[in-house]
Symmetry: D2
Subunit: 102 residues, 4 copies
């Protein structure tokens, strides 16, 4: 459990908003289907490297977009409200840990 | 079918080397399992955004490594041998299309 | 002038905190020196491609870190306080515009 | 001096082609001017974080494009000709070192 998740034992429990959860899940399900397609390609003997890289690029693009959905929901619902809760330092340090060196 | 794939109708058919295929498939199978874990997390009501982003970052790291395996096999087996086959212009233009703006 | 910058005409003017400004400027000055070194390399006839790419990678790493300094200051000083000011929607939409498709 | 640079002591000296050198230098000079603009912004007291991040994103985009010019020249002039010279293993390993985990 992450520090900001429990906001310093104040019993506040931050959860992902359900619209972001559904939107991210939908995108990730599509990415998973795409990834399964790449695995099938690799099972065939005559697959061409550049075709595989192109498909992988598309899968990564889909994951990037899913991540942006999660990030936007987090910023809106948890970061923008941090001063009110009083856990701004923790929530920003935690978020920087996921964002940096990306 | 990509231009370099058929190397200008000379009937040369470039295929992914089997060791790169197996190594990439192994990594992608792990990434797929990881992605399924993220989808399960999103199915639960009390998932935390930063935990989802952390997991997605790990999945993307696995895809990046799988891509590097494919890229290295391509460079070694198809790009480094291009002058001998005579399709250097095509194979480089094609590869830049996948690599740039990455 | 960006929408959140003036926070909907309420006359609140968001400025970069001076410690983030100084820290980012210091890192960017180093990156600029490094970039000038790459330009000098390119002025010589016998420079090797991979050496140039390695130097450019280092410059980009330095810019990434400078950007993280600016991002962290923004999250801490402007995003985490958005609910209090009442401009959460605008400030998050604006930030997503810079972060996504990165 | 990198291993492929001297191609195993065979006295072959790989140099960046002059058109790639000029094109990369031109782009990097523009990026440097842009970066100097960001440094000037940071010298002013009332700069806004998101404006700085936007400018940095543009500078990084310019560096990415300069890198692509160098990469394309390298692939075309040095990697695609590797089998003929006999240093394919070294030149690919060296290139992967700059490309991966990018």
């Amino acid at each position: 459990m992450s520090p900001a998740h429990m906001t310093q034992g104040k019993g506040i429990h931050l959860c992902m908003p359900s619209d972001a959860r559904e939107s991210a899940a939908k995108r990730l399900a599509v990415a998973k289907g795409h990834l399964e397609g790449v695995l099938r390609m690799l099972g065939e003997g005559d697959v061409y490297c550049v075709d595989v890289m192109r498909q992988l690029k598309a899968v990564m693009g889909a994951l990037d977009k899913a991540r942006d959905v999660v990030l936007e929901g987090h910023l809106r619902n948890h970061v923008a409200t941090a001063q009110t809760r009083g856990d701004g330092q923790e929530i920003v340090a935690e978020l920087m840990g996921v964002l940096k060196y990306r």
